[in-house]
Symmetry: C2
Subunit: 193 residues, 2 copies
DNA sequence: CAACTCATGTAATGAGTTACATGATTGT
DNA sequence: ACAATCATGTAACTCATTACATGAGTTG
């Protein structure tokens, strides 16, 4: 039988953020868009109940700061049991992801449509990947200038950030190359009629 | 207001399979493991109600073949309206995917653990990607030998298959390279103490 | 003054997983 | 005999998205 309140992966994602610094629920949501959003996303309405669970389990605490809005701002901080739980989860082998790529799904049926109809999809995808790549490369250069040698030391938060960034750059580069190949193939077909 | 019974992406994934050949529910599930499973997966208990919806919407029909088991085997075939719906969906811009990569999430917190604890994760991941890559490369060679020139013609199902395969190869290659870099970094740190 | 961001909260719906049950065929 | 595969079906559950509501502060 599984434990009564197993912590979901999202819970660990949140703990991972709070291990770096205390954050409000809104700030957690913002970081689950950028930069963590590249490999794990969640909406605020999903984050809220998860933070409550973590708090009830004693893995985080919060301090309510009376703010200007209708609700007081809650700043969450990770506790020692929270850090322990996060460390224990870290070394567990990750479960395989369920891949979901709608563009590839469409690609699998692209023989049903003409090249002219499908080209815009790949051009749009290429543009998005190019934009991401440019952004990541800019962040990378800033990091390399700012932190230098520290980015080769695996025991710093900066290295962890840099490592995920490298993965993002590799991923986007590969996507872009594939889109380029697809566009080439489709344009070639279009030209020949 | 959205239509009463909008077809989910999974529905189009199924239609895409049936556009190639008639299949039983079980066969659809099998193909949503391999080879479509690389970019879209689903369990049989999810596929079943989706097939029912498609059938009620007139996009597929089925023929019940009395089989040996307790239930008669149902072989589903796509209809003309089904093909039309699939073609219309094809050219719609795909919605952005919610990325979920647990290994990257752990990487983001790897500064909390020692290199010796994290190394097995990356070695295991590298092994899985190497295995996938070898498999894809084998399929690719078989396809290139068997179909040759046809793989450059975007209006054949073979090209569509080949195109998604190329994406898989690129993806796995990139994953492997990144895992290799991570292992190198962590081993280096471990050796120096 | 309209639009946007910060910041919390609720409700409803849809997507996806897990576990279970039935039963014939095929391979070890 | 036992396990695996083929093949369908049901129920309970968790995960995730969407839409909505409140209200202050900032920017063009």
């Amino acid at each position: 039988m599984a434990p009564a309140n197993p912590i979901a992966t999202l819970g660990y994602a949140i703990l991972g953020l709070l291990a770096r610094q205390p954050l409000s629920g809104y700030d957690v949501a913002a970081r689950l868009k950028v930069p963590v959003g590249f490999y794990w996303t969640a909406h605020y309405s999903q984050i809220r109940p998860e933070l409550q669970k973590l708090q009830q389990a004693g893995l985080v605490t919060y301090e309510a700061i009376p703010g200007p809005g209708p609700h007081s701002k809650k700043v969450y901080t990770i506790t020692q049991p929270g850090l322990d739980a996060l460390r224990a989860w870290l070394t567990q082998p990750p479960k395989l992801e369920a891949p979901r790529n709608e563009l590839l799904l469409k690609t699998h049926s692209l023989w049903l449509a003409g090249p002219g109809e499908m080209l815009p999809l790949f051009r749009a995808a290429a543009a998005v990947h190019a934009e991401h790549l440019a952004h990541y490369e800019a962040v990378r250069e800033r990091m390399e200038v700012k932190h230098g040698e520290r980015l080769t030391m695996p025991d710093t938060p900066e290295f962890a950030e840099y490592a995920t960034l490298r993965r993002g750059i590799g991923f986007e580069t590969e996507c872009l190359a594939w889109c380029g190949w697809m566009i080439e193939r489709l344009e070639d077909r279009q030209d020949r009629g």
